[in-house]
Symmetry: C2
Subunit: 213 residues, 2 copies
C-alpha cells in the first residue's frame, strides 16, 4: 500500500474552524484586532496553545495589540485551503444529510454542494435547503462527465462501500464519510471519516474523571 499523506497537528487543525468562525463574527462587529488571550478565553484553552495554533498560519501578532482580524482570517483560510472552492456531491439525504445541507457555514469553508442523491422515491425530486434531490440510480450518469473531487457520504453503513466504489468509478477522489464504517479504497483516494462517538468518547472520560457519572 502506498504511503498515505501524513497530516500533523490534528487537534490544531480541528480548532481552526472555531477560531475562524469567531474571528468572522468579530470582524463583522468591526473589531480590527483580536488578542490570543480573548480567543483563548472564548475557546477555553491556554493562551499559549492559541498562539502556537496561529503560528501554523504564518500570521504574526503584535505584543499588546494582538493579531489583525482580517489578516488572521485570511491566514486561517489559506492554511486550511478554504480560499479555494471545493465542489462536492452529497449522497444520502436522511436526517444527517439534511442537517449538513442546512449547515450555513459550508460556504465559509469553500465547500459547494453541486448534487444531492438519495434512493428514497419520496425524496427524489424534492428540494432540501435549496438542493434538488436526484435519484441515486442516476448518480453515475449525472456525475461521470464532470465528477466533483469530493463526495459527502451520509448513507447507511451497509451500502456505504458500494456507493463509494461507484463514486470512485465516476472519478471522485475524496470522501467525507459519515457512515459508521471504514471504507476500503485505493491508496490515492482520501477518506476523512467522521465518528460521532469520537467526541462522546472524550466527553465520557471527562464525566468519569470528574465523578459526574
Amino acid at each position: 500500500m502506498a504511503a498515505r499523506i501524513k497530516v500533523l497537528n490534528t487537534p490544531s487543525m480541528r480548532r481552526m474552524p472555531s477560531y475562524l468562525h469567531k474571528l468572522m463574527l468579530m470582524h463583522a462587529a468591526g473589531e480590527k484586532h483580536a488578542s490570543a488571550t480573548k480567543l483563548a478565553e472564548y475557546m477555553d484553552l491556554d493562551t499559549i496553545i492559541v498562539r502556537k495554533d496561529f503560528e501554523l498560519t504564518g500570521i504574526q501578532g503584535r505584543p499588546g495589540v494582538g493579531y489583525k482580524t482580517d489578516e488572521l482570517i485570511d491566514g486561517i483560510r489559506r492554511y486550511l485551503g478554504w480560499n479555494i472552492t471545493c465542489e462536492a456531491c452529497l449522497v444520502g439525504a436522511g436526517s444527517l444529510g439534511s442537517a449538513l445541507l442546512g449547515h450555513e457555514e459550508f460556504m465559509e469553508y469553500g465547500l459547494k454542494i453541486t448534487n444531492v442523491f438519495d434512493s428514497d422515491p419520496a425524496k427524489v425530486g424534492s428540494m432540501i435547503h435549496g438542493h434538488l434531490v436526484e435519484d441515486v440510480r442516476k448518480m453515475t450518469q449525472v456525475l461521470k462527465p464532470a465528477p466533483p473531487p469530493l463526495a459527502i457520504l451520509c448513507v447507511s453503513p451497509h451500502c456505504a462501500q458500494m456507493v463509494a466504489d461507484e463514486l470512485i468509478e465516476c472519478g471522485v477522489k475524496a470522501f467525507w464519510n459519515f457512515a459508521n464504517v471504514c471504507l476500503q479504497v485505493p491508496p490515492d483516494i482520501i477518506v476523512q471519516r467522521e465518528v460521532i462517538a469520537g467526541g462522546f468518547a472524550l466527553l465520557s472520560v471527562k464525566l468519569t474523571q470528574s465523578g459526574i457519572k
Copy 2:
C-alpha cells in the same frame, strides 16, 4: 477560573469507538482473537499506533495470537466509562437532533436519552425514533426534580447559551454541544463541543496537500 480537567491522548480516545465498533462486529462473527495488524489495516493506521492505543486500556495482547476480542471490548468500554449508563436529555429535535436520536449505537456507548425537547409546536407531542418530543417551555418543570447529568444541545446558535443556562439551573452538569457556539459555563460544568467543520478542516488540508483541489 478553576483548572479544567485535562484529557490526554485525545486522538487515541477519538479512535476508541471505531475499534470498539469493529471489535463488536468481529465478536458477533465469532472471532475470538483480534490482531493489532488487522485492526490497523481496517483503520488505515500504523500497527504501532493501534498497539499504543490499546496499552491505554491495560489489556495486553499475545505475540502471534493478538488480543482476546471480548477482553479488549471490555477494556475499551471501561476505559471510556461506557460500562456505566449515562442519562441525557436532548434539546432541539431538528434534522441533526433527529439524526442523533436515530443513531443506533448510542446504547453501545452507555448513553440513554430520557427526554427530548423542542420549541416547534408541530414537533411537540410527536415521536422521533421512539422518543416523545416535549415542549421546551416545560423543560425546567420536567427536569428539575431529577435532572440527567448530561444534555445534548442541537439548538440554533442564537439560543444555545440561554438553553444551557436553563439546564445548568436545573442541575445538568455536562453538555454535548452541537450548536456552533462556545458556551460560557461555570468551571464545574463540562462541555464537549462538536465542530462539524473540524473534520472538514483535516480533509481540506489533505486535499490541498495532494493537489486534488
